[in-house]
């Protein structure tokens, strides 16, 4: 167990350092969601005049989008880094060592988790400065950070699976719009009950991303909503489990090939 933990820490450390050594990798994912938050929270402010809109501040409503976008970037980073390891032969060399596959997967998302944590703190901090009021208080703010990191882990693990499956950074990047699609076709811009187009509302209802957003949003604009939180945490843990299983299976295939 101790050896396993050491392996995870060493690989996570490498992943974390590699991510933060390249400003081009972590600065855009940090700034881009903030820029979009600034623009969209003002551009869509008129939506708060719609009857039934749950808050009079679109910034409060829109802040969770930043966490989600950050998590998607984490997914691309984790997947691209692993694909580069495959491309450069690092994974092959690692296969000759006693490192366990599970340790490799857990460690590889270290960079994404680290970035996810930094992003979550920055987004929340900027949001609070810009006037966001977290209805659930300090404990709620802390829970937002926990959930945001878990979402980054979930998407990061999905990125690992894509990296292992495609084996190329370009392949991972090409899947990125599809992951983004899950965000776009959710309740990110309007509450589901205010979405007018039937098919869009139906897809948003079965899309787990809607529940991640709604769990984060509930802490900001509603306070403590047990149903939203249970759905959000339950689904994100489910995502991590499914993505980890897929990645572990793909790792076996990849190792067998090499």
């Amino acid at each position: 167990m101790r050896v396993f933990a050491t392996q995870v820490v060493l690989i996570a450390q490498r992943s974390f350092i590699r991510t933060f050594r390249q400003p081009g990798v972590w600065i855009p994912p940090l700034l881009f969601p903030l820029m979009l938050m600034a623009v969209n929270s003002n551009g869509l402010r008129a939506a708060t005049h719609l009857p039934g809109f749950p808050t009079n501040s679109f910034l409060d409503f829109f802040l969770p989008f930043s966490f989600m976008q950050g998590a998607l970037f984490a997914s691309a980073i984790a997947g691209t880094d692993l694909a580069r390891d495959i491309d450069t032969g690092f994974l092959n060399r690692l296969a000759l060592t006693p490192v366990r596959g599970s340790a490799l997967l857990l460690g590889q998302i270290g960079g994404a988790v680290g970035l996810g944590a930094v992003q979550a703190v920055v987004y929340l901090f900027v949001g609070l400065i810009a006037g966001v009021h977290v209805d659930a208080g300090a404990a709620g703010a802390l829970l937002i950070l926990v959930l945001a990191v878990l979402i980054a882990v979930g998407f990061g693990t999905l990125g690992l699976w894509l990296g292992l499956r495609t084996g190329s950074g370009e392949g991972v990047q090409a899947q990125f719009p599809l992951l983004f699609f899950t965000l776009f076709i959710s309740s990110m811009n309007l509450p589901r009950n205010l979405i007018e187009v039937g098919w869009f509302r139906d897809i948003a209802t079965v899309n787990p991303v809607s529940y991640f957003i709604e769990a984060l949003r509930s802490l900001i604009i509603e306070g403590w909503n047990a149903e939203a939180l249970l759905l959000g945490f339950g689904l994100v843990l489910g995502l991590i489990a499914v993505a980890m299983a897929l990645a572990a299976r793909q790792l076996k295939v990849r190792m067998a090939r090499t």
């Binding site: 551009g43 719009p177 776009f184 076709i185 187009v197 869009f200």
Partner: protein
């Protein structure tokens, strides 16, 4: 002139062939506007009920114009990535040596951006019509709207071309796309200009792309508005970025490709 056109045609043919042979290069720029269109037109249509929303062509048409202009601009920017890649791989150096008229190179890249965008625009238009977009304007109005998008496409490619030829690396990609993205989103994307409030209203009012967007929406609604201003701004920006891209070409020549 003949030599310039020959160079331009050859560059455009090569870029288009590369694009069609590589789905990974072709599909993301195609998917991006479709995703935006789905998210905005599908998810935000309730915004037409906001008090003061006075666009009568339906929210799908309202968003279609934005996404069309966005696809045009990004069709140009993605071509800029290809130019940077040509410099990284040494192809551009050989092209500079062999082209009898180097100005044809910029022209060729601009032509390839237009071809790329026409394919995207065709798919986008078909999708929009399939989901029930209403067009209030007549043939001339629709032509006017697509003409504005062509100007947008050329603004995008000439800007990206200037950046690519100055930096000569794909790492300059964020520099090519971020200003375009920001300029587009600092226009009235979701609601008409008069419904924006605060700093974004002040910025959108002086944003040159607002003229193109508002005019394009006027065309599709069948009530053309600010047409002279929009074409004036569009042609002015194209002229400015022609100078920008050709000075980039001179810098690339001076650096030896």
């Amino acid at each position: 002139m003949r030599q310039r056109i020959d160079v331009a045609t050859a560059v455009a043919y090569r870029q288009t062939t590369i694009l069609l042979k590589n789905p990974s290069l072709f599909l993301p720029p195609m998917l991006f506007p479709l995703l935006n269109f789905t998210a905005f037109a599908g998810g935000l249509s309730r915004l037409r009920h906001v008090p003061g929303f006075d666009f009568h062509g339906g929210y799908t048409a309202f968003q279609f114009v934005f996404v069309l202009l966005q696809s045009a601009a990004f069709g140009g920017v993605f071509t800029g990535f290809g130019i940077a890649r040509d410099f990284e791989r040494g192809f551009a150096r050989r092209l500079l040596v062999s082209a009898p008229r180097r100005s044809g190179i910029v022209l060729g890249y601009a032509l390839s951006a237009l071809i790329r965008w026409i394919m995207i625009a065709a798919v986008l238009t078909c999708v929009a019509l399939a989901v029930g977009m209403k067009i209030g304007g007549d043939g001339v109005d629709v032509f006017g709207m697509y003409a504005l998008a062509v100007l947008m496409n050329q603004i995008g490619v000439l800007w990206a071309c200037g950046v690519a030829m100055r930096f000569r690396t794909v790492q300059a990609g964020p520099l090519m796309q971020t200003p375009v993205f920001m300029a587009l989103f600092l226009a009235p994307v979701y609601v008409p200009l008069h419904l924006l409030r605060g700093w974004i209203h002040a910025v959108a009012r002086v944003n040159p792309l607002t003229f193109l967007l508002e005019s394009g929406r006027g065309f599709i609604e069948g009530e053309p508005t600010q047409v002279a201003a929009a074409f004036g701004v569009g042609l002015g920006l194209v002229a400015f970025f022609v100078v920008w891209s050709y000075s980039g070409l001179r810098k690339a020549e001076a650096a030896g490709g």
